[in-house]
């Protein structure tokens, strides 16, 4: 039998959703992470695609990954998305970039142009997870 979808689980018994925020600019990352925590999510912060990947392959929990495209390290945001889709297909993904342009918007089904509005990010996360609220 399939597990019930997240939106059907009563809020009182539901484990908080985990959002993995992958962003190499510390202030941008902190502001987004704190906003999402205040909204009710558990937020994990990673400064690069490499770090995010280490977290995931080590058993770290994430329901959704919100990642920048251009970052230092071996694994760029696009590669991270590909790895996640191949190895953790249940994890939802949202991509952000300051200069992704129309290409990124077409390539990724969920794309947020920087500078983004945090309320819009929250809406996008809630929609991607298929829930009514965090």
């Amino acid at each position: 039998m399939n597990a019930p979808s997240a939106s059907l689980v009563p809020d009182s018994v539901r484990e908080p959703f985990h959002i993995l925020v992958v962003e190499d600019e510390v202030i941008t990352r902190s502001v987004a992470a704190e906003f999402l925590r205040e909204s009710g999510f558990v937020v994990v912060e990673a400064a690069s695609g490499d770090e995010a990947w280490h977290y995931l392959i080590s058993g770290g929990k994430a329901n959704l990954v919100f990642t920048d495209l251009k970052m230092p390290g071996a694994i760029q945001g696009g590669q991270l998305i590909n790895h996640i889709q191949a190895n953790f297909p249940a994890i939802k993904t949202i991509v952000t970039s300051g200069n992704g342009g129309p290409f990124a918007a077409v390539t990724y089904s969920e794309f947020m142009q920087k500078p983004y509005d945090l309320d819009e990010v929250l809406d996008c996360i809630v929609k991607s997870l298929g829930i009514d609220s965090p």
Partner: protein, 128 residues
Amino acid sequence: MKQPTIALVETDILIRYPLSHYLRECGYRVLEACTAEEARQLATARDVAIDIFVLDIAWLGDAGFALAQELRRLNEEWEIITIGSVKRAVKTAADLCEDGPNPSHASDHGNVLALIQKRLSMREKRSA
């Protein structure tokens, strides 16, 4: 009452995330820095008020000692705690938790250490 703010400077996400989550459960606001440079940016950001810096010297190495000295020069009122091992990091977090706004909300720090060790072990196996 103002929520005390800790800047946790730890390069390894498998240590940083469980520690920061634990400290948040104790009522702290926790800002995460993954490198010494990120810590500098947080320290000098105009609208970020930090009370305590926790620096993992084991991973930061010489950059960690230099950062500690720099932070002391920037603001003598900052409490700066340096840690040198995972066990020490968890013990430090447990001590901070006892003094935090919500110590009763914290999970057992032994569980935090066990979780970190389990994740580090999983990464080693995957990397081998």
